[in-house]
Symmetry: C2
Subunit: 440 residues, 2 copies
């Protein structure tokens, strides 16, 4: 079979302009991909994480760091959860942060009365609407739910602060029930309605459909909350914004009930790929690593090795063909720029998958001079040793230097003393990075 | 505002049957959500993970474990990567596994000639088609790519083994170029065409559209490969299946270039929620934990604390209202059943967010007898201590026992000696679990 026909057709299109295919989809005219807000819930959902015990001082430190990062809202544990929870809520309200402070309560007047006295800027009300929760949790029917919601909403509004009404387990709730209650509370005048994938199992196209449908029923903003049990929390958040949701609940590292919710850092990775200008104009993404380290230490977990952005190898390129292209233009294999996050790119060349382009680049860094043919020859030697055992940078440097010395002074073996101190990887590696690479 | 109108409308719908809203969408008539296959690439993509160095013995151990799990294909590093890579490929082909063995090569006759001699069941061919890769990697135009593809495909087919042709960085490739080359190779008769999100940034609705479009152009199966840089690899894989893709590339824990690809375990969580019967009929999901531990040890990483299924807290419930409902019916807050994976559920009740239902359940486990009112009273004591410091199970048990003793013999303080040994959490916890909980 000939490829001539293929050539003729394809050349007609070769002049087409290449746009950013990851930007907001122009067909989504309700999209908020370039105009979203964050409700940061490390101090509410995050407190439901198995390991979390936040002292007042830790809560304040986290709240200040989140505020500095630029989150729009900070959500706190219900003041009725315990006496100290109430006191901490009051203390954080008094910090004078730029972010608005919210607290999260059951749809109940007892809770609402305590919440409005704490000094919060708004109250997030939630009630289970699924058959499961109606049967096994609060045991109320939709009519009772609607009546409670109306009472609580009107009370909170009368205090002049923001109010959000959310269903719980929205994706297992009856659609007509949901739309009915959302329309009811929208008419009373809530600031936001919330959709919650409480069990963590909605999929992106389901999310798109529900948000689009809800968008046609209410005038207020839509907030979304996604658990990550089946690994879709970031994608669901993105798709919700495409459909017209405005606010996403996140927590640092995604900590929360079970394996948690949409992580702040992972969502930033997703959003910066879609609308870098918007994200960089609002959020200090270079603070993500510090923020994650702060929370990870508070709840005694390690940053996952495969975490978006801050996983120790998120910007490490290893295969020979990847390394070659990255050296020519980082955009070939990177949609995120590590420098946006105050991080560095690494070319991992000390292994059997390495290629001669990566090795040539290393030769240049060592201030040695080898022809392309010689680089290919020394690359073969490196790959051979890489077949036998795991290599480190010193191994590769030794091979290169020995090879170079043999070329220059074939009869005299040099020692490694007196050679210039060289960095460990191609594009720099500070000491703390090096430690992480080795320990994780 | 009255809720009467709401009541009338909602009751009309209250008899509706509640189906599994996470099953395949009936509108997706091309969906393979209930009929997919796995191409397991821990020994190819996974070898490109920064920490990976697999000895021959480790490769064989991993291949056997994957085969036992039930993966459909096992993909291996190119035999031209290094001499040992070629020998390992031959060794794994000789194991007589049920899974078909593939190797992954560049679209080049030199590579193809070596690959077909290793004894593999099929060859996965890949070439970069994006403007970036054409310019900075191989420097070839689409016509050259088509000609190389035809030559390699016809050669591999002539050897009687399977052949897949994949573009690289498909989502930044020109759509018409892509469809042209896929149609060309489909006509020659490849087994599969592959779509690869090499930079890890496609979003679910983009994936759906591209797969649906491609499905209308080719007759062969469609395979998809998603990197996880922006956290969408699991969701993209699911959405690709909805659109009619048949095969998904995975690796254990998602290990691969940078922060990796769709993880095997995470995808299983996603798929079991959609079609539990299909997943359980094909794959030994109760082996996921062992498989992940095997690979994690080989590449020296920890299982991420928030990993789907096997993260140490994936089935831990903490907030009072969650615990109450879970005790009544686990489905209220769980879409996955821990027993499917050989794991156990935990109710975390030793904290200030606890509720009296969880404490009552603990009281029952301790074989003590308290009224509901007494349970509420002791819960308040526990929450008060939980405000002061992080609690453990012994703290809670001591409070309950003291409270109980005070009721029975108010003037005599009992010692804790001689009390029955009780498990540490509500629904059992074996020793290895306990250790993981404490160390992660």
């Amino acid at each position: 079979m000939s490829a001539d026909g293929f050539k003729a057709v394809s050349e007609n299109f070769s002049h087409r302009v290449q746009e950013n295919p990851y930007g907001p989809n122009p067909a989504d005219y309700l999209s908020n991909v370039g105009d979203f807000q964050l409700i940061e819930s490390t101090l509410r959902e995050g407190e439901q994480f198995a390991n979390a015990f936040f002292s007042t001082e830790t809560k304040i430190e986290i709240a200040k760091a989140l505020d500095d990062f630029g989150v729009d809202y900070i959500e706190l544990t219900s003041p009725v959860a315990s006496e100290q929870s109430r006191l901490d809520c009051e203390a954080i309200c008094k910090l004078g942060l730029k972010a608005k402070i919210l607290t999260h309560i059951r749809c109940h007047m007892d809770d609402a009365r305590v919440a409005v006295e704490t000094g919060v800027d708004g109250v997030d009300v939630v009630i289970g609407t699924s058959q499961f929760l109606r049967q096994y949790s609060h045991g109320k029917d939709m009519n009772y739910i609607a009546q409670s919601a109306i009472e609580v909403i009107e009370y909170v509004k009368s205090k002049g602060i923001e109010i959000r009404f959310s269903s719980e387990d929205s994706f297992r709730s009856d659609l007509v029930d949901l739309l009915n209650i959302y329309r009811t509370v929208d008419k009373i005048g809530v600031n936001r309605v919330g959709i919650a994938d409480t069990v963590g199992c909605a999929n992106p196209r389901q999310v798109y459909e529900l948000v689009r449908t809800l968008k046609s029923v209410v005038n207020c903003d839509i907030e979304c909350h996604f658990h990550n049990d089946t690994g879709c929390a970031i994608a669901n958040a993105y798709t919700a914004l495409e459909a017209g949701a405005k606010l996403i609940d996140v927590s640092v590292l995604g900590i929360g009930e079970r394996n948690g919710i949409t992580p702040l850092g992972g969502l930033m990775a997703r959003m910066i790929a879609a609308d870098r200008d918007y994200v960089l104009s609002k959020y200090k993404v270079h603070k993500i690593r510090d923020l994650e380290n702060l929370v990870a230490e508070a709840v005694q977990v390690n940053i996952p090795f495969n975490n978006p952005i801050t996983g120790f190898c998120a910007f490490t390129h290893k295969a020979g063909i990847h390394a070659k292209a990255i050296l020519a233009n980082p955009s070939t294999y990177e949609i995120l720029s590590p420098s946006d996050f105050g991080l560095t790119r690494y070319i991992h060349f000390a292994n059997r998958l390495t290629g001669w382009n990566a090795i040539k680049s290393r030769v240049d860094q060592l201030n040695l001079h080898l022809t392309d043919a010689q680089c290919k020859e020394v690359t073969e030697k490196i790959k051979k040793l890489g077949d036998v055992r795991q290599l480190n940078i010193d191994d590769v440097d030794s091979i290169i230097k020995d090879f170079h010395s043999d070329l220059s002074t074939p009869l005299v073996k040099p020692t490694s003393n007196g050679l210039p101190k060289v960095p460990h990887v191609l594009e720099g590696l500070d000491e703390s990075e090096e430690k992480r690479t080795k320990t994780e």
